[in-house]
């Protein structure tokens, strides 16, 4: 269970938000909404422990995430604006290397399966340089399938994806929720999810 209490975010001299609290139970998706610059990305980075809140605390199963450190990060998957996809590496190498860096190495076969599942069949051995923005995003999203993590934090996962890929991704998220996972995401589009979805507005 992820719990945020009274989070405050200060950027420069401006307070973006304050008093943000929520509880996220297993099997639930939290949609964070708000205008551009309302602090959605800042909130997600705080929840991951990348940045410190100006006030408040984030707890995972009752313990502050700063104390848990690697134990928390082993349960967490964060997918930010930048997809961490290297132009010089092939799609397959990208998928396998990011899994290794995350501490969950995978064999070649499962990486190929994951890439195929996200509609990259036949592109596995092309350098990411020649892939389109949407295809690169799909390479980045293979991590959802490869790293078995409980909590997914996704920042604008739909960017550059076509309709088929959005449906595909929603299926992946639903399966994760059905299996007792948790998802926090930001998006300007509505996602056609079947699982339990809660909303959080930042203003």
């Amino acid at each position: 269970m992820l719990e945020a209490s009274n989070l405050e975010c200060v950027r420069g001299e401006k307070s973006l938000f304050r008093g943000v609290s929520f509880r996220l139970e297993a099997g639930t998706c939290l949609m964070v909404q708000g205008a551009n610059g309302s602090g959605k990305t800042s909130l997600l980075r705080m929840l991951c422990g990348l940045s410190q809140p100006a006030a408040g605390e984030v707890r995972w199963n009752g313990a502050p995430i700063g104390k848990l450190a690697e134990d928390y990060r082993g349960e967490l998957l964060y997918c930010g604006h930048a997809g961490a996809v290297k132009d010089e590496l092939t799609a397959l190498e990208n998928a396998r290397i990011s899994a290794t860096l995350a501490g969950a190495p995978v064999d070649e076969e499962s990486a190929r399966t994951a890439l195929r599942q996200l509609g990259l069949k036949g592109r596995e051995d092309l350098p990411a340089r020649v892939l389109s923005a949407g295809q690169k995003r799909r390479v980045a999203l293979t991590r959802l399938l490869l790293e078995k993590r409980k909590l997914w934090v996704l920042d604008e996962p739909l960017t550059a994806l076509d309709r088929a890929a959005v449906t595909n991704l929603c299926g992946v998220i639903d399966a994760h929720l059905a299996g007792g996972g948790m998802v926090i995401l930001t998006s300007h589009q509505e996602l056609p999810l079947t699982g339990r979805v809660e909303h959080l507005r930042l203003d």
């Binding site: 991951c48 422990g49 990348l50 940045s51 410190q52 690697e70 990060r73 082993g74 967490l76 964060y78 930010g80 604006h81 930048a82 997809g83 961490a84 996809v85 290297k86 010089e88 590496l89 190498e93 290397i97 990011s98 290794t100 860096l101 995350a102 501490g103 969950a104 190495p105």
Partner: protein, 227 residues
Amino acid sequence: MAETSILSTLGAVIRRDLLLALRRKSDVLTTLFFFVIVVSLFPLGIGPEMAMLRQIAPGVLWVAALLATMLSLPRLFAADHADGTLEQMALSAVPLGVLVTGKIVAHWLLSGLPLALLAPVLGLQFDLPADALGVMVLALLIGTPVLSLIGAVGAGLTLGVRGGGVLVSLLVLPLYVPVLIFGAGAVESHIGGLGATAHLSLLAAFLALAAFFGPWATTVALRIALE
């Protein structure tokens, strides 16, 4: 996390950075050419008297090695920072220190090691005797990892900062002074007949100290830069 898994991740990070460098060779080669050119400029500026050149050779080679390492530092984390890989590393289940150590080792393999291997060829330009060349290579092999370790801290601190490339030299060069003194000193004292053991042992001591503190300080610096 089991020890074997930490070691295998360390190996994987090193292989990854080497693979990336292989796919983009120009970055590594530029540093090496820079080293060669800077060293070759000195005889042109000072004059071709061999006795003089022999005397300044250790210092020239070491200063050029410092500058070449310096030049490669901004690239150490910049690409990973720009494409989001660094964030992923910071959120990995593997401690960030392990990943950072892997990156520093790879940086040394791509900058320090080639410099050390090139040095004898350049030493010939300065008429250094064969045994002095041997000491030179040995000193560079022990000293250049220290440069990578200290440099990584500077690279982490200046990550994404205005004018980071120039700033990193201001931060790191003063800290390189001991390596310069004992690295060049080893060769000079060997030529002077005093033996290089004391200098090399001290360089090794710096290496131990830097290997202990460097990755830790770099990790702290990177977490600050990512915030």
